[in-house]
């Protein structure tokens, strides 16, 4: 299955893959490849790396819960996305815990490669288990500011088990960041369309992506009461993950573009783990997740894309879809949203993955935000 520089293989058929790479390389000798691998195929990554190393073709990629190709989610197979010329890629698997220091390392690699006349996008593939992605983004913005657009997604396992989910042709690593500098590239857009609730409570104690106390009480205790009071649903430790995706927290912003944080784990102290950092002292609101305005979401994305491009021309599109959103909406509705996205954008091809957190700007030249429950999309085109 192929759409320009985006190809999906339903299985790891190395012969077919070799044929494709050979064709691609005859077209673009300086090419490189971004590989998206579903969690179910994670054992195939080592073989894929050997294959690329033997052919001396640059490779980078990540493992996600599922893939997206066209208008379908796929649990198996492999997506290969071609860069006509391999961009700057750095796999940082040993970043320090201090966000400022980690950002400095990433920025030191990217900064010298920027030419301020050429629009560029810093596309970050992060291990979802990193606890301080929001802070890392804040620090990167302090350092690189508007020299780049910011986009990215979290990779990893849907079960939130630690896994080496990032790779290049030599290494496979977890708990790190794979930074790609795409240029020229106009950036990405993201949107979730979740409606915020009416009542907010302070996260009185947080630690990275762990909410320890809400309103000075154990987080889960408060969360359970809120859900029960607002939606009449009784959540306990056993059904937590099944229900929690439907009742995410929102971090309130002034332009109503609430940041979504989906609780995904509970610990013994009744603290809640979310995908993505919850800044200390954040005011949290319980989102009425069922009220997702899907059509508004898609329209926002379409408009955003045409603004980025400056023209409505359809091209290959990268699309990352939040795993929590799919779970909340249900497979059928999510697939329908994919189909509508393809139609609305008129994309010649769509490839991506189910993500565990997304990075993007809600407006052109916007502040980079780490989100959950969103769709994040960007032009892939043939020029990457």
């Amino acid at each position: 299955m192929s759409s320009g520089g985006m190809v999906y293989f339903s299985s790891f058929d190395m012969e077919k893959i070799a044929g494709l790479l050979s064709d691609w390389r005859s077209e673009c000798p300086a090419m490189g490849v971004l590989a998206l691998v579903p969690e179910a195929e994670k054992t195939q990554v080592a073989g894929l790396q050997i294959h690329f190393r033997q052919r001396k073709i640059p490779l980078c990629g990540a493992i996600f819960p599922q893939l997206i190709y066209g208008s379908e989610f796929r649990r198996t197979g492999l997506c290969l996305l071609r860069f006509d010329s391999m961009p700057y890629v750095a796999l940082h698997d040993d970043l320090p815990g201090d966000a400022a220091e980690a950002a400095r390392i990433i920025a030191d690699g990217v900064g010298p490669r920027l030419d301020d006349d050429i629009p560029a996008t810093l596309f970050l593939l992060l291990d979802a288990m990193l606890p301080n992605i929001g802070s890392l983004l804040d620090e990167l913005y302090l350092s690189l500011a508007n020299r780049v657009h910011y986009a990215g997604v979290n990779a990893g396992s849907e079960t939130f088990q630690a896994m080496p989910c990032l790779f290049d042709s030599q290494r496979q690593a977890g708990n790190g960041v794979l930074a790609l500098l795409l240029k020229p590239h106009p950036g990405a857009v993201l949107e979730h369309g979740y409606q915020s609730g009416e009542h907010s409570l302070p996260a009185t104690s947080t630690e990275g992506n762990r909410i320890i106390h809400i309103d000075w009480r154990p987080a889960f205790e408060v969360y359970r009461e809120l859900v029960l009071r607002q939606f009449g649903v009784e959540i306990n430790r056993d059904n937590f993950y099944r229900y929690a995706v439907h009742f995410p927290f929102g971090i309130v912003r002034a332009n109503h573009s609430t940041l979504v944080r989906i609780p995904v784990m509970l610990d013994e102290d009744n603290a809640l783990f979310c995908i993505g950092e919850v800044p200390a002292h954040s005011m949290l609101t319980l989102l009425e997740a069922p009220r997702v305005d899907s059509s508004a979401t898609l329209e926002t994305l379409r408009l955003g894309l045409s603004q980025l491009r400056g023209k409505p021309a359809a091209a290959g599109l990268l699309l990352f879809y939040c795993a929590g959103r799919k779970q909340h909406m249900g497979a059928e509705a999510a697939t329908e949203e994919l189909r509508a996205f393809g139609q609305l954008t008129g994309a010649s091809g769509v490839a991506g993955a189910l993500a565990l957190g997304e990075i993007g700007e809600s407006t052109l030249w916007g502040y980079p935000l780490f989100q959950n429950a969103t769709l994040v999309t960007a032009d892939w085109g043939s020029g990457q």
Partner: protein
């Protein structure tokens, strides 16, 4: 307006502001959170805005205190920028379609059209900017008012904190510097301590192993210091030690070290000293003498005068021939020897050096007394030309010591030059020569004779030299034309212009000048051309070898040729054989001095020699 929408934002902003204690992070974090909440992608803060005036042309010079989100603007943090006052001044406002106003900013992509201005009380303003106005239904211009009031106070508190921290850091640095100083210095006197001195000795030894120069370690103890302590008390004696330290510092040369080891024990490291042991010992001894004399001056303590003396031990060292421990032990041993010798004295560790130094000191003392005891004698060695005519004599000094006998000028002249006694000796010789010339004026046989007097460079460079000679010429009128001053090339080591001026001044009085020992020293043709000389005196070493060493003969011929070209007379000294005389004549030298013609003689014998007329025989025997 929903309270639930506003309160969380204000709550987090307040906590962000309250969480910072330093100005720079306060401003950047506040900006960052504002951008985060409002979706404006960039912003900046200017504090301490100047008051607008009619003549400012619509722009204010403001310092950019913080910027976030725009890379180019960030590069200007800390700089003073000219920014539109319409942008900076006024109440909180949220305006779209302001591309023209925002284009005045030094930004990366000139895309900004909308801005939100939030005044920080009277302290400054926050400007948030966006290419497109971020949507909101919240009253941003109103809702941040309490936050801005909070921020204004936080800025003032942070500034106080930063000042306090700066002072604290400065104090700590000062304390660290002081601690570092104290680690290597003596707290009472500020002199280097034992550790630092040992380090410098190591360095000196390492350098000495490369260039072979000597160094000296001098131990100096204040005599009877314990009794002084008992008598005057510790505080007063501390003052003595401090004053001693200052006096010792004035005695040493640049690069030497004075250290205090504790109590009344001072150590002086003298490095570098000459590469020969004797010269090194002499120089070390001279510095020790200076130290001893400096400490002998009365100390003033609480209005009273106190006299102290010191004992000094000196140990010479070179490279790593001795270990550091041995060197220290030797220096201490020598100071005990000095104390044992009756204190207020100087002792070398090495007995041989001590003997040499003692001898020299004794000679020095005798030399100082020699003039007063009338121990100097003048000898005259005749000078003649190739016509067998005696033209005059060189006046030579001899020291007739009652015990030592006749002391060689080669021994006592360098010593006199070092001690400065040469000036008095030289003055005396000059006066005696003038007196002799005047005496001869009444004797027709001798009235044509000239006298050549050696002038040391030390004597010549004295500022009053020309005055003294002029005074002599006034006292002994009519002798100037018969006086010849012999200079050595070493006078040229000082300012040539000054030398030329002095010579010219005295030549104007009729005095002639000869360059002594020519060919052994500087021998610069460039200087020679400029010096208003009358004569070159070929050094005796060349004359001695003229017959045996072809190079000496060549040098003599060269000197003679040079002198002829410059119109100078040439005289050869050290003439001892007929063979030498023949060659000198052959090469064109017409004036001579040496044993062949006559050895230096006291005045009566000199006059007798001239009267006998034996001289003419030697000269006439030589073939011309």
């Amino acid at each position: 307006m929903s309270r639930d929408d506003v309160i969380p934002i204000l709550y987090e902003m307040a906590l962000t502001i309250g969480g910072e204690v330093s100005l720079s992070p306060l401003l950047s974090r506040t900006l960052q959170r504002l951008l985060y909440f409002t979706s404006f992608p960039a912003g900046f803060i200017c504090l301490d805005l100047p008051a607008p005036s009619d003549s400012d042309g619509g722009f204010l010079p403001v310092r950019l205190d913080a910027a976030v989100g725009d890379y180019k603007l960030i590069q200007h943090i800390g700089n003073v920028l000219q920014l539109p006052k319409q942008l900076l001044l006024g109440p909180a406002v949220r305006l779209d379609g302001q591309a023209a106003l925002l284009s005045a900013l030094p930004v990366l992509h000139n895309v900004y059209q909308a801005f939100l201005r939030l005044p920080i009380g009277r302290l400054g303003a926050i400007i948030l900017m966006a290419p497109r106005m971020p949507e909101t239904t919240l009253p941003l211009t109103l809702m941040f008012e309490p936050i801005m009031a909070h921020l204004e106070k936080a800025i003032m508190l942070c500034r106080h904190h930063d000042e306090y921290m700066s002072q604290l850091i400065a104090d700590r640095q000062q304390a660290d510097t002081r601690a570092e100083f104290l680690a290597l210095h003596d707290a009472l006197t500020g002199l280097p301590n034992r550790g630092l001195l040992l380090d410098r000795i190591h360095q000196a030894m390492a350098m000495g192993s490369r260039n072979g120069q000597y160094g000296a370690l001098m131990t100096l103890n204040v005599d009877h210091f314990k009794q002084l302590n008992d008598l005057y008390g510790y505080q007063a004696c501390d003052q003595v030690l401090i004053e001693t330290a200052r006096r010792l510092e004035r005695c040493i040369r640049e690069g030497d070290t004075v250290a205090r080891f504790g109590g009344d024990e001072f150590m002086l490291l003298l490095w570098p000293l000459p590469a020969t042991q004797k010269d090194a010992a002499i120089q070390a001894e001279q510095i020790a003498q200076q130290a001893r004399q400096a400490l002998a001056l009365p100390y003033r303590l609480n209005g009273r005068e106190l006299s102290v003396s010191c004992s000094i031990g000196i140990s010479l060292f070179r490279a790593h021939l001795d270990t550091l421990e041995t060197l220290l032990r030797n220096a201490e041993t020598s100071v005990y020897q000095a104390k044992a010798a009756g204190r207020n004295t100087i002792r070398f560790f090495d007995p041989e050096i001590q003997t040499v130094i003692m001898a020299r000191l004794a000679l020095e003392a005798d030399l100082e007394r020699a003039m007063a005891l009338n121990e100097f004698r003048l000898y005259f060695q005749l000078q003649a030309n190739d016509q067998a005519c005696v033209t005059g004599a060189e006046v030579l000094i001899r020291w007739l010591h009652p015990k030592r006998g006749l002391v060689s000028p080669a021994v006592f002249i360098p010593l006199a030059e070092e001690t400065g006694a040469i000036v008095a000796i030289g003055d005396w010789v000059l006066e005696m020569a003038c007196r002799q010339l005047q005496v001869w004026q009444d004797q027709p046989k001798f009235c044509h004779l000239r006298l050549a007097v050696n002038v040391s460079a030390v004597q010549f460079h004295r500022p009053d030299f020309t005055d003294k000679v002029s005074g002599l010429m006034a006292r002994y009128s009519g002798v100037a034309g018969l006086l010849k001053l012999e200079l050595t090339e070493s006078v040229m080591l000082d300012s040539a212009e000054q030398v030329i001026r002095k010579i010219q001044l005295l030549k104007n009085l009729g005095i002639r000048f000869s360059m002594d020992d020519f060919g052994t020293g500087y021998s610069s043709l460039a200087y020679l051309k400029r010096l208003p000389l009358d004569q070159l005196k070929i050094d005796q070493s060349f004359v001695r070898d003229i017959a045996s060493d072809p190079s000496a003969a060549v040098i003599i011929q060269t000197i003679i040729g040079m002198a002829q070209n410059l119109g100078l007379e040439v005289i050869a000294e050290g003439l001892e054989t007929q063979e030498q005389l023949v060659l000198l004549k052959q090469y064109g030298c017409h004036h001579y001095q040496g044993y062949l013609l006559g050895k230096p003689l006291p005045i009566d014998q000199f006059e007798a020699l001239l009267e006998q007329g034996d001289l003419s025989l030697a000269l006439k025997q030589a073939p011309i």
